[in-house]
Amino acid sequence: METEYLIAIEEFCTSHNIEISFISSLQQSGLIEITTKKESSFIEADQLKQLEKYVRLYYEMDINLEGIETINYLLQRIGSMQDEIRILRNRLRVYENE
């Protein structure tokens, strides 16, 4: 059986001094997934990096949820374009004389 690494939402919110409602909004927007076990809510550890990023965008940079959604989408697009550039650059190397 695979081990799941879960972080309690409540603990996360206390540690970051943020409202639980913010996490619920992120979930409603589909930006994060929440796991519920024994009436407690958790996020998987591999989502922590993203979640902390959303917290910084919202609380430190004053970007609202719609803005975060847009940024998230655009960063994903940038990521795929960077991958594509890498592949194309590697293809170009076939024609380089080194």
């Binding site: 540690s15 970051h16 990096k49 970007i63 592949i87 293809r91 190397r93």
Partner: protein, 297 residues
């Protein structure tokens, strides 16, 4: 290190209100924050400067000292004590501001660097962090190294990390080594280590995805009459049948003799061999005569 004008950095006047400072900081943070500029070292550097400026100017105490003592603000307490001492012992001297002004003209420039260290340290302690920082590094490989799965030891921030480099890794590809970044805070998980591979070009083989390309010289006689040649591949020598009447620039595909497919054991791309036909030189009289005969046939 030169004096940094925090007001200039944030693009605000010295009379800026806390609200204006916050607004200027947020505006610049939205532009330069590493979250919005992944893998951009310039943005990270710029953001650190902005953060530092905000750290000082958004704290009334620090701002007051910064405004009063300029670049030596961190040592203002020291100044103040010295000033007090001077005033007590030489009451005839004029006010402390003159004294500190004289000192700050150059005597305390050595303190400047330490001032930034202090400011950054304070900034970190104020931020709530849970997960450790991610580290990024680059690893240079030869094409032949990327051909086989192998182990390699990396030195990251003084810590030796042994990693497995899977065969078929691509130039510019980044892999994540979970938990080898910065230490987590307050019991949080450690950050990750991201390694970007830089693979040098090989003098004889070019790679495109999982396929390899090479050019082999072929003598005229074999090109005309056909025959067997032995060529080098990354997995060793292979024999190749050359068809009669092969033209210069003709290409043949050797299936599964290309590069291993990343994380797909036993799967390989193809090797494309381009023939470069070499015309014989320094012909003997006999050879020239035979070529003449051929040309007249």
């Amino acid at each position: 290190m030169d004096f940094v004008d925090y007001y200039k950095l944030l693009g605000i006047e010295k009379t800026a209100t806390p609200k204006e400072i916050k607004s200027a900081y947020r505006k610049l943070a939205r532009k330069h924050h590493p979250d919005l500029n992944p893998n951009d070292k310039d943005a990270k550097r710029k953001f650190q400067q902005i953060n530092e400026a905000n750290e000082v100017l958004s704290d009334p105490e620090k701002r007051k000292k910064y405004d009063q003592y300029g670049k030596d603000w961190q040592h203002s307490e020291q100044f103040e004590k010295q000033q007090q001492y001077q005033n007590q012992n030489r009451p005839s001297q004029s006010g402390g501001s003159r004294y500190s002004q004289t000192q700050s003209d150059g005597d305390f420039s050595d303190f400047f660097e330490s001032m930034f260290g202090g400011a950054r340290g304070a900034g970190r302690s104020r931020q709530v962090k849970y997960r450790g920082e991610d580290y990024t590094t680059e690893l240079q490989l030869e094409l032949i190294d990327a051909y086989k799965t192998h182990k390699q030891t990396l030195n990251v921030n003084g810590e030796k990390i042994r990693i497995t480099v899977p065969a078929g890794i691509e130039n510019g590809q980044t892999i994540k080594i979970a938990g080898h970044g910065g230490k987590g805070i307050n019991g949080g998980p450690d950050g990750d280590l991201y390694i970007t591979f830089l693979i040098s070009n090989h003098p004889d083989f070019k790679r495109s995805g999982n396929d390899l390309y090479t050019t082999v010289d072929l003598d005229l006689y074999k090109a005309v009459l056909g025959g067997e040649i032995t060529i080098e591949t990354l997995s060793g020598k292979v024999k190749l049948n050359v068809k009669p009447e092969t033209q210069n620039g003709n290409k043949v595909k050797l299936k599964n003799k290309g590069f291993p497919v990343y994380k797909s054991e036993g799967q390989y791309g193809d090797l494309y061999v381009t023939y470069s036909i070499k015309i014989p030189t320094n012909l003997s009289e006999k050879q020239k005569e035979l070529f003449n005969q051929l040309s007249e046939m």
